[in-house]
């Protein structure tokens, strides 16, 4: 028995001599070497917003809490040159959750003046959709006319892009050239009242002709306060292969302008603007006359839209409350082709008062009035009152 106890004691205490010492604090790397993060990093950013909309149209008022949107942005930095980005959008539409992929692309910095990216990306057609549309950046709760659903400005595309910027010793020049799958034309077979409209959200191309586009932006002053830009977007074919619309082409262009400057003793003035123009080749469409017989028609398929926005933040005020306020005014209009089924003219004024809780969290209160002639809902005046809270993270 004694021998057994001695043997157990020898094994019990003696095994530590040969045991590994993973937890030996003398060799703990954190003691001898500073913590070094890896070059690879995964990060989730994004934004969300919610609010109350109250819109009065034709004497009827609709009021509801809306805009429960959550848009996470996934960033994976593989190295100092390689980055993957993707943005999802979760939105409640009619009590159902809709999930959208805003963009998902990989980018590689080729050199100090050039980056290539491929996948689905926001198109630099002007600046609004690429840079300014997120709810925590957009100074008003709504988009200007001409953007978003049924807008004429393309927002994203699947393809490849070269972009970059040059420092001209004070002034700066930035550029972007890209090729994407391109838009499709709505031929009216599904929605006759939308015949001739372009549809930009295409995961697969309907022909072998790709769309090409680009933007050049110039910041002429050394303080980067002013930027003027010109964008184009063109495609030879917007119709499906072997369809009667196969050889219908489209050409779009946009001018954008931005002026942001802090004036000492006054505050920050922020002016933005963009003009969009879309021209689609003439084509023949079919509609039903009053007796239900098919009737062919064509029209000059040219649309345009414009917006300009002015905002002011009294950042030099002595009052902390005033410093966090922002006053916003925006004018926008949209002119659809005169002889199209979806012809119409709209004009909109929006005024807002924002309170910035932090640099990325804002409460927006806005009033908006829109006058329309024609269009989907036959025109009229719609007045809206909005209270929204947006946060970037």
């Amino acid at each position: 028995m004694k021998k057994l106890i001695i043997l157990i004691l020898i094994i019990g205490f003696g095994h530590t001599i040969y045991g590994q010492n993973y937890n030996d604090f003398d060799t703990d790397s954190t003691k001898t070497e500073a913590f070094k993060p890896s070059k690879s990093q995964f990060m989730i950013r994004g934004y969300g917003h919610t609010g109350l909309n109250s819109v009065t149209s034709d004497g009827e008022t609709e009021s509801s809490y809306v805009g429960s949107a959550f848009a996470p942005i996934f960033l994976f930095k593989h190295s100092d040159r390689l980055l993957f980005e993707a943005e999802l959008e979760f939105v409640l539409e009619g009590n159902e959750l809709e999930v959208g992929l805003e963009y998902a692309n990989v980018m590689y910095v080729l050199n100090k003046n050039m980056t290539v990216r491929a996948g689905k990306f926001l198109l630099p057609f002007g600046t609004f959709m690429e840079r300014l549309h997120p709810a925590w950046i957009n100074r008003l709760p709504t988009k200007p006319l001409g953007f978003g659903h049924d807008g004429i400005a393309p927002s994203s595309g699947i393809g490849v892009e070269l972009r970059g910027a040059f420092d001209l010793g004070g002034p700066k020049l930035n550029y972007s050239v890209y090729s994407t799958n391109g838009p499709r034309i709505k031929d009216g077979s599904v929605e006759p009242e939308e015949a001739g409209m372009l549809q930009f959200q295409n995961y697969e191309d309907n022909n072998n002709s790709k769309a090409f586009g680009g933007r050049i932006g110039l910041l002429p002053f050394a303080d980067s306060s002013t930027e003027i830009g010109f964008s184009t977007y063109s495609t030879n074919k917007v119709g499906a292969t072997d369809s009667q619309y196969e050889n219908v082409g489209a050409f779009l262009y946009a001018f954008d302008f931005a002026f942001v400057k802090q004036f000492s003793g006054f505050g920050v003035i922020d002016i933005k603007g963009q003009y969009n123009n879309s021209k689609v080749d003439d084509a023949t469409y079919t509609e039903l006359d009053e007796f239900g017989n098919p009737e062919e028609y064509t029209f000059n398929n040219e649309s345009n839209s414009f917006y300009t926005q002015l905002s002011y933040r009294p950042t030099t005020s002595e009052s902390d409350f005033m410093k966090k306020l922002e006053f916003v005014g925006r004018y926008s209009n949209y002119n659809a082709p005169a002889d199209a089924e979806w012809s119409g003219e709209s004009e909109q004024y929006a005024f807002g008062l924002n309170y910035w809780l932090t640099w990325r969290s804002v409460i927006k209160v806005a009033y908006q009035t829109t006058d329309s002639v024609g269009g989907h809902d036959g025109g009229g005046t719609a007045n809206g009152f909005f209270v929204h809270w947006a946060i970037g993270f």
Partner: protein, 100 residues
């Protein structure tokens, strides 16, 4: 429209070629003594660039909201999204890291 499309493709190709040539051209063999020139330059600080570049779209971020590693990822993302120059993002990133 086909003519415009052809012109646009040629224009886009031209811009791409010029951008590639200029961006890939080396300046290592320049005969200008860069250090002499630097003495007379009024260089902007990273803080100044942070105020100018970020405010073009959104309010300038608080440096304290992210750590150094986060700022590197955000810096790379914003460099591409906002088409910032290498000098701008390098200085802005250095400022954000130093001030957080």
């Amino acid at each position: 429209m086909k003519t415009i499309h052809k012109i646009l493709i040629k224009g886009a190709t031209l811009i791409a070629v010029v951008a590639i040539v200029v961006s890939c051209s080396s300046t290592k063999d320049t005969y200008v003594n860069a250090t002499d020139v630097e003495e007379f330059k009024m260089e902007k600080s990273g803080a100044q660039m942070w105020g100018e570049a970020c405010n073009r779209c959104h309010l300038a971020p608080s440096p304290a909201d992210y750590n150094d590693t986060d700022w590197e990822t955000i810096g790379l993302h914003m460099r591409i999204r906002a088409n910032l120059t290498e000098k701008e993002i390098t200085k802005i990133e250095a400022f954000l890291k130093s001030a957080n």
